[in-house]
Amino acid sequence: MVLDILQVIFVQRALITGIAVAAICSVVGIFLVLRRQSLFGDALSHMAFGGIAVGFLGNVYPLWAAFAFSILGALGITKLRQSTRIPPDAAVAVLLSSGLALGVVLANLAGGPNVNLNSYLFGSILLVSNEEIMMIMLISVGVLAVIAALYRKLVYMTFDEEQAKVSGLQVSKLNYLFIIVASITVVASIRLVGILLISSLIVIPSISAMMIGKGFKKTMLIAVSISVFSVVTGIIVSYAADTAPGGTIVLVTIAVFLAILGWKSVRKARQKEALITRL
């Protein structure tokens, strides 16, 4: 049955796109989670929602407008955090609500209920076009290339910004660059799981991998594996069971997370038991 599903052209297209998006979300996600910016992905996607509505209103391809809005919002919030004493979580809340409010108002102006926002809110990976596949593949290659080129610098900045500065790294510029990469990643992922579920694809594989990974690179590879496994399984299950692909993918990532959590708890209990027996 699985082989039959894999023969379907639009499933193949969804899998290609999904695997690319899964890889960049988890790679960027590790840095976001460790930098205590887990909700930043959510805020960026809500900002993208504002951009999508502007796209509808201005008759521009919505995802291009989403890229512009998301990047500008991210840069704005980074500047706000660096130049004021607003706590980071409050800054994220400002970005999140601004994007959502703008999106709701502009979508209403653009045509109210006639504007089909559902595919952006909940994803529509099975309807992805050839042009979108090309765009997402190019973005994924670009994002992975930037992360690979800056890998050590990003890890250092994530480990300790002050020490990274002392070693000569231009931390402020690196911060801006990383946030732009994160914004692009989030918008590229909208077609896969939708605005409302993107942060789960960024956060859950990363925290799952961090529970079992030893070493930064290994943890990153585990996160990518969990993410890709969840996307592939989610797409196949959603096609077979006729469920929403975005939600199904996220439910698979949660299942993997719970399985790892359970395995860790059992292992810890056994180790404790063994220790007591030895005593």
Partner: protein, 246 residues
């Protein structure tokens, strides 16, 4: 050879003066103990010396170079910050963290191994940094500073919150780096006993310079020690008055 020359350095925060015309010098091979009460400006002074704060008045020269004019000289400094607990969930291994210290693009495995060995962390190299004890984490940060072959090491209250046994191991590593590896060291600490045992020079600051000179002059002079204790006590009381947050 003169390694550090700090000349009339002043720094003001919004709430007041943090450093007032501080001057001191460190020569090659010195182990200078930087002492002073909480809020005395030790960390601010280090931040100026490390290029993290640049809007200070006065001049700071490292190896004869004004750090405002030639920031490259800062690469010859190894720095271990005041201990702040490392996130237990941070997935990098000790070896990966140590390799971050290398400023060139390709880390040298030989240098990493050598730094791990000096810090006594070879058996721990594959463990996650967050799993180590506080003392081991500080030794890992020293190893990270060592991979770049620093000529000057700045240690900012490195043993705060670490148990006595680990403190002794850490101090023995510091002594070894100074005496065997000939690295010039500036160590800030509240532990006067440790500074007395380790340092050949002392700089005692409390926003302005209180004493700078040979360690034995400071520790052998009862009058000076008494004045330092009084000054520390006054600072402590000032810091704990309502409205003062140091």
């Amino acid at each position: 050879m003169r390694v550090v020359s700090v000349d009339k350095v002043s720094y003001r925060y919004e709430h007041g003066m943090a450093l007032d015309e501080i001057s001191f010098s460190v020569d090659e091979g010195d182990l200078l103990g930087m002492i002073g009460p909480n809020g005395a400006g030790k960390t601010t002074l280090f931040n100026c010396m490390l290029g993290l704060l640049s809007d200070y008045q006065g001049t700071i020269e490292i190896f004869g170079e004004d750090i405002k004019k030639n920031r490259k000289v800062l690469k010859s400094i190894g720095y271990v910050p005041q201990k702040n607990s490392i996130d237990r969930g941070f997935p990098a291994t000790v070896e990966e963290v140590v390799s971050l210290g290398i400023t060139v693009d390709k880390p040298s495995r030989v240098k990493i191994s050598s730094a791990l060995e000096t810090a006594g962390l070879v058996p721990e190299k594959d463990r996650r940094i967050g799993e180590l004890s506080g003392g081991q984490q500080q030794r890992a940060l020293i190893a990270k500073a060592l991979v770049n072959d620093p000529r000057l090491l700045i240690l900012d209250e490195p043993v705060t919150g670490i148990d006595l046994e680990m403190q002794n191991k850490f101090y023995s590593l510091v002594r070894n780096l100074n005496q065997e590896k000939k690295i010039t060291i500036i160590l800030s600490s509240h532990d006067l006993d440790a500074v007395n045992k380790l340092a050949n020079k002392v700089a005692c600051i409390n926003r302005s310079m209180f004493f700078h000179g040979d360690a034995h002059h400071f520790f052998d002079d009862e009058e000076l020690m008494k004045k330092y204790s009084e000054s520390s006590m006054q600072s402590h009381m000032h810091l704990h008055q309502p409205g003062n947050n140091g």
